[in-house]
Symmetry: C3
Subunit: 303 residues, 3 copies
C-alpha cells in the first residue's frame, strides 16, 4: 500500500500520492457517475485517499461531477480526504457576477467558495482548504481571518496554500497564528525552482509536506518534444529498465524522495495509470540514479 503521513503536525493524515481531479471533465471515457466512481474506487483500493480538487477545475464543474458520485456512494466519503482550493474567479456561466478574471481571497469570498464547494462536493466538510493563488490585492490578515472563520464554522478542517512564495507563506502564517498545513507548488524534473528558492526548505523547517503538482511536467516529461524532455526521457528509460519499473514511476519517485517528502498529485483519467503510479509509491532510487536524472534534466553536470 501507499505510505501515509500527517500532512503537517496539525494537518490530516494523507496518502503519499494524491489524486488530482483537474481533468475530471475531460475524460475521453466520459463523466458518468459510473466512470467517476470507477476511478475513485481504483484510487481508494490502491491507497490513494487524498482527492485534490479546486472550485475552478473544469471551469467550476469538476467538484459537481465528484459530488454527484458521492451522493450515489456516500460511504466513500469517510475513506478519503478532500482537498479543495478557492480564490480564482473566471467569467463563465458558473460565475454569473464575474466579468473579468481576478483573484479574491477576502473573507466573504472564501466563505462563499467554501459553501459552494460543500454543496457541489455533496459533503459536510472539507479536510484541507487551500488558497489557490497569491491574491496581490488582499491583505494576508484579511485572508487569515476568512480562513479562521470557515474552520471555526466546522466547514473546513485545516487550511493551506498553493503557489505561494516563502514570503507569502510566512506572512499568512504570521496572521493565521499557525503554519499553513501545506504549500502546493509545481515540482518535477522539468521544474526545480521550489528546490532552490527556499519553498521546500521552508516546508522542511516547519515539518510541512508540500504538495507537488504536475510531477510529470504536465505530461511534457513523457511526451514533450523539447530537448530537456527528450534528454530526461532517455535517462528515465535507463533507470526504468534497470529497476524494472515504469518511467512514470521513476519520475514520481524522483519527486517523492525530496527531503521535504512532497505529496505528489497525479492527474490521470486512466485507472491503469493510477494503479501503476500507486505500484511505484514505495520506489526508492539510488542516489546515483537521482542525481543522474537531475543532470539529464538540467543538461549539465552537478556543480
Amino acid at each position: 500500500m501507499i505510505p501515509r503521513f500527517k500532512l503537517s503536525p496539525s494537518g490530516p493524515e494523507v496518502s503519499a500520492l494524491a489524486y488530482g481531479l483537474w481533468r475530471l471533465a475531460d475524460d475521453p471515457a466520459g463523466t458518468s457517475t459510473a466512470r467517476v466512481r470507477e476511478k475513485i474506487e481504483t484510487c481508494l483500493e490502491v491507497g490513494v485517499t487524498t482527492m485534490d480538487h479546486a472550485d475552478i477545475y473544469g471551469l467550476y464543474t469538476c467538484e459537481g461531477l465528484f459530488g454527484r458520485m458521492l451522493r450515489e456512494a456516500p460511504q466513500l466519503r469517510d475513506r478519503m480526504e478532500i482537498v479543495t482550493k478557492c480564490g480564482i474567479n473566471v467569467p463563465c456561466a458558473h460565475r454569473p457576477g464575474v466579468h473579468a478574471r481576478n483573484y479574491d481571497t477576502t473573507g466573504p469570498a472564501i466563505e462563499r467558495c467554501v459553501d459552494r464547494s460543500l454543496r457541489e462536493l455533496n459533503t459536510d466538510r472539507i479536510d484541507v482548504l487551500l488558497i489557490h493563488r497569491p491574491d496581490w490585492l488582499t491583505s494576508a490578515e484579511e485572508t487569515a481571518r476568512g480562513l479562521q472563520r470557515v474552520v471555526q464554522a466546522g466547514k473546513v478542517r485545516s487550511v493551506g496554500v498553493s503557489n505561494y512564495t516563502t514570503h507569502q507563506f510566512a506572512l499568512l502564517a504570521h496572521f493565521l497564528g499557525r503554519v499553513p498545513v501545506t504549500n502546493q507548488v509545481e515540482v518535477s524534473l522539468l521544474r526545480m525552482d521550489a528546490i532552490y528558492d527556499g519553498t521546500l526548505d521552508q516546508c522542511q523547517a516547519a515539518g510541512v509536506h508540500p504538495m507537488a503538482w504536475s510531477p510529470l511536467g504536465g505530461g511534457r516529461l513523457l511526451s514533450g518534444h523539447d530537448e530537456a524532455s527528450a534528454r530526461t526521457r532517455t535517462a528515465l528509460a535507463r533507470v526504468s529498465a534497470d529497476l524494472g519499473v515504469s518511467a512514470e514511476q521513476v519520475a514520481l519517485a524522483w519527486v517523492t524522495m525530496l527531503p521535504s517528502r512532497p505529496q505528489v498529485v497525479i492527474g490521470t483519467n486512466q485507472p491503469s495509470r493510477i494503479r501503476d503510479a500507486a505500484g511505484g509509491a514505495r520506489l526508492v532510487l539510488s542516489r546515483e540514479q537521482w542525481y543522474a536524472l537531475w543532470e539529464a534534466a538540467q543538461g549539465r553536470n552537478i556543480p
Copy 2:
C-alpha cells in the same frame, strides 16, 4: 481630503500621498520662492502633507530651494512632515571633497548629511530620515549606530530606508533594535518586483507602509512608447472612462490599493496635477479593474 495613517507603529502620521521634490530644480516655471511656495501650499491645501526630499535631489540643490521658501513662510513647517534621504555622494560643486560617485552610510556621514539637510531645509528636525540606497561597503551595525545618534540628538524623529532588499531591511532592523519606519521602493504598473519579491510582504508583516516612488513609471506609463506602456495606457483609459476619473488617478489608485498600503510619492511640478492626484486619493478600483490592469501591464492573463 486625503487619507492619513501612521507610517508605522512607531512612525509619524502622514498623508496617503507624498509630494516628491526631486524635480524641484527643473520646474519650467522656475524656482523662485513664490513658485515653490505655490506648489507646497497647493499640497497642504489638498492634504498632501508629506514632503519627500533627498539631499542629492537637484544635485544637492532642492533642499535649499525648499528651505528658502520655509524661511519666508516658517508657519508652513508645522503643517508638514519632512522626509529626506542621505548616503549618496556624487562629485559636484556642492560636494567639494568628493571625486567619484560612492555611497556612504557610516555614522559620521549620516551626521554630516543630517546637519547639512537641516541647514538647507531651514528646519530644526527631520521627521523621517531614510538611507537612500544600500551601501554595500558599510556594516549595518555602523549605519544603525549612526541613525540612533541623529535620533538621540533630536535632529531626526524616525528612520527608515529606501531601495533595500528584504535581507538588508531585516539586517538593519536587527541592529537598530526596531523596524525601519518605511522602505521606499519603486512600485507601479510597470514595476511590480516589490509585489513578488517579499519587499511588500515584509512591510505588511511589520505594519509598515512602504513608500512607492515612480508610481507612474517615471512618466513612461502616461507617455512611453514601449509595448507594455501602450497596452497599460489603453487599459487605464478604459477604467478612466468607466469611472469618470483621470488615467493618472487610476494608475495611482492601483498602487495605493496594494494591501501594504503604500504611501505614493507624486513628483509633478504642476499644481493642477497635484490637485488631480489628490482628488483621486480615495479612489477604489473594482477587483476586476485592478486585475485587468495587471494583465494589460504584464501582457498576459493572471496564472
Copy 3:
C-alpha cells in the same frame, strides 16, 4: 602580519586570508613533499594559517599530498587551522564504489569522509568541516545529526557550509541548534551575487565571517578576455598605481573590505604570490576606489 579573527562566535580563530589547496596537484613545480612544504611554510611565515581543503580537490588527492608533508613536518600542524569539505562523489579510482556523480551528506557519508580526510591529512582533528554543496536529496535534519556526531567524536571542531543559499543555511542552523561557523561562497569583483541575495547579510546578522572562494574570479580577473574583466583590470591598474600595490592586492582588498569581512581564499601555487597577497592583507581602499571598482566591474554607474 595578517589580521586574525574568530570565524564566528563559536568558531576557531583564523587568518583573514586562507590558503586554498585545490590546485595543489597541478603545481608545475611538482608535488614533492619539499615543494608542498615550501608553500605551506611560506603561508605560515606570512601569517596565512588557515588551510582550505576539500576531500575532492585534485580528484581526492590533495589532502593526501598535504598529509604526506605533515607526516614529515608534524610540528606544523599546531600552527594552522585545517578546513576541509565533504559531500561530493565523483567516479574515479579513489571512489571505487561510485559510478555516477552525486552529493551525499547523510550521516554515514559524513563520517566516512571525515575518517578518510583525517587519514589523508595525517591529523587527529579537522578544525572546520564544511558541507561542500547543498545536497538536494538529504534532509537537513539528517545532515545536522551527522555533523553533530563527528563533532561529538572529537574528530571535527566546528562545522559550516559552502555554496548554501540563505534558506539552506537557516534550515541547517535550525536542525543543528546553532549557526554554521561559515558559508564559503564565490565572491569577487566579477561575482557579486552574494552581496545582493542576502548571503552576506545573513552572515553579518549572525556574526559569521563568510569565506570567499575565487576572489580573483578563478583567474579571469587578471587575465580574462571578456569585457567585464578587461574593464575591471583597467580600474584595478589605476588604483594599483595610485596606492603603489599590486592589482591582485587591490582585488583581494575589495572583497575583504565587505562589511561581513569575508575570509578570502587564495589559491596560487607560487610562493611569491602568497607573499604578495599577504603583503596586502591590511590594505584599505578608499570608499571612492571601492565604488569605482564596482562601477568598472558592472559597466555602469551605481544607481
